[in-house]
């Protein structure tokens, strides 16, 4: 009994912090989501209006568009990061001169704050002063203008996310690859597997947990991207890169429509959970069931 009490006491600070900074705000957001509340609107008071906020967002074209474009962004960014991160991890498994230096340098983007990443990319891509449009124009004759070209703006946000977060994927996958025993790979060589078969039948299943964990982390991050994109494109041109995080920000801050913003936040949280759960069901659960059955 005594050790139990001590255990709870030790956990208490964590639980308190988690409660104050995690659970209480969430409950408050949930509470606000069921109210009409715009302090600078016609009626500044908080008025209960049932599920009206949720009814409104179902028919809100801007919101639905932002959800769609966010999923598209997350899909391209995470998929490329996993693929590129895996290739880099495989590269770092090999011996080559300057490997240690290169390993260190390649993780540097991780320690740069998103807002700084956004500003730097903004500087580099601003038409007429940025280095990237300059060279694209002089070498390929391509006119990059993220203020006008929606496709280019979207692509750049994806590229920026890849630049910023691929090192994280590389690090986790490298750790996973380094921890693998080498004999199954030698055995597979003897068994007659070529490189692709070794990757598909041996490497991939053995690092699957690490890949899944990384995908979850990156997916959740990508779905709530705000600051980098805000610095780079401010959600533009038009609403082309107004990802859902930016959309919420626009509603809550400039428009001060707190109730509606809270409702969208709750729905986005729900959608994120559902997507992660679907991913889990699709990739993990069938294997576990198979193992349990035997």
């Amino acid at each position: 009994m005594r050790s139990n009490t001590v255990g709870w006491l030790m956990l208490a600070p964590t639980i308190a912090i988690l409660g104050i900074f995690g659970i209480l705000p969430f409950i408050y957001v949930l509470y606000v989501a069921f109210h009409q509340w715009n302090p600078f609107g016609a009626n500044p008071d908080m008025v209960y209006n049932g599920a009206n906020n949720f009814r409104r967002l179902v028919f809100d074209g801007e919101f639905l568009f932002s959800i769609g474009v966010t999923i598209k962004f997350a899909f391209f960014a995470v998929l490329s990061e996993i693929a590129l991160g895996y290739l880099l991890a495989q590269l770092f498994m090999r011996e080559f001169p300057g490997r240690g230096l290169f390993r260190t340098i390649h993780t540097l983007p991780l320690i740069v704050a998103p807002i700084v990443v956004g500003s730097v990319w903004r500087l580099m891509t601003t038409p007429s002063i940025g280095i990237i449009p300059y060279f694209l124009k002089s070498w390929f004759g391509y006119d990059l203008n993220i203020g006008r070209d929606a496709g280019a703006a979207f692509t750049l946000t994806v590229l920026m996310d890849i630049w910023h977060w691929t090192p994280l994927v590389t690090l986790t996958l490298l750790a996973a690859l380094l921890s693998l025993p080498k004999e199954p790979f030698e055995q597979a060589q003897i068994d007659g597997a070529n490189r692709w078969q070794i990757f598909w039948h041996i490497t991939l299943p053995m690092i699957r947990p690490a890949i899944l964990a990384t995908v979850f982390i990156r997916l959740m991050d990508a779905l709530r991207t705000v600051d980098e994109v805000w610095m780079l494109t401010s959600g533009g041109p038009g609403a082309a890169t107004r990802y859902v995080g930016l959309h919420i920000w626009k509603i809550v801050f400039p428009k001060t429509d707190y109730g509606y913003g809270a409702a969208i936040s709750v729905i986005v949280l729900y959608l994120t959970l559902v997507m992660c759960w679907l991913l889990y069901v699709a990739l993990v659960a069938p294997r576990q069931k198979k193992q349990e059955a035997e």
Binding site: Q187, A188, I190, A193, I202, P205
Partner: protein, 353 residues
Amino acid sequence: MAEVAVRNVIKKYGHLQVIHGVNIEIADGEFVVLVGPSGCGKSTLLRMIAGLESISGGEVLIGGRVVNDVLPKDRDIAMVFQNYALYPHKTVAENMGFPLKLKGRPKEEIAAKVRKAAEILALEKLLDRYPKQLSGGQRQRVAMGRAIVRDPQVFLFDEPLSNLDAKLRVTMRVEIKELHQRLKTTTVYVTHDQIEAMTMADKIVVMRDGHVEQIGAPLELYDRPANVFVAGFIGSPAMNFVRGRIEARDGGAAFVSDHGTVLPVPAGTAPRAEPVAYGIRPEHIDVRDGGISATISVLEPTGSETQIFAHLGGDAINAAVRERISARPGETVPLLIDPARVHLFDDKSGARI
């Protein structure tokens, strides 16, 4: 099935040479054991035969074909690793069938071959299990099953029993030997355990520091070791060595140790000026009247035999006798050495005289 030949094979890691021109000829269907202390290069040599290590010089032939630049998968070999190297995410059946699946064989054929191999190794009930649900011995059998299923030209074993407990090791030793007698596939087996080498091999290759010290049938190595190293390595308990000279005595010759102990030598031995190492196996010393009297320091009765650690003047000697000894430490016993079973080596070079 095929013969294997290793000709003048060299292995270098940068400037460090670990294998120095090894030559081994392995006949079709032969069971050859590479044995030696750790770091002698036996595993490296096996991995070179498998194709997992590049060959820095010389040739490796399998079935008459030079395979130096042939990929492991095209050498038609199967290998069993010390830690089994099973695929953790595949069931026993999938593990065993994987090589055939890679070759694109039909499912029915794979299933039939896996079932047949499982019968040979008594694995039928475990086919749907995952490696982590198996014991060490079972895993080792699965690894062997995977080798059998492929029906390769050569089996390669890299210390397959080292991770098993002593009792299981003996059982598996017999199983592997039975398997070989049944399949008659050419086998190269690496171990550091000379008992495994003696009991399983048709031919033993004793290695040290990247050199072959001696190649021969187990009993040949036991009866006529080519040098001090082989003499000391093969046989348990290990051979006694005493340093000294061979001097003329009573019309013949006798060995006189550095401490002055006189020991008998085989008939016809000529006196020698250079120092020699005198070797006698513990089991070739008897406790019998007429022997040289020695002082017992420690007795180790094991039931089937008794080991006596004794002193002959200044020389320590170890004898293993069938009888039970009633004497106690500190007392003296007469030790009778069979001169015909004495081995003499040049003390400097270690070579047999």
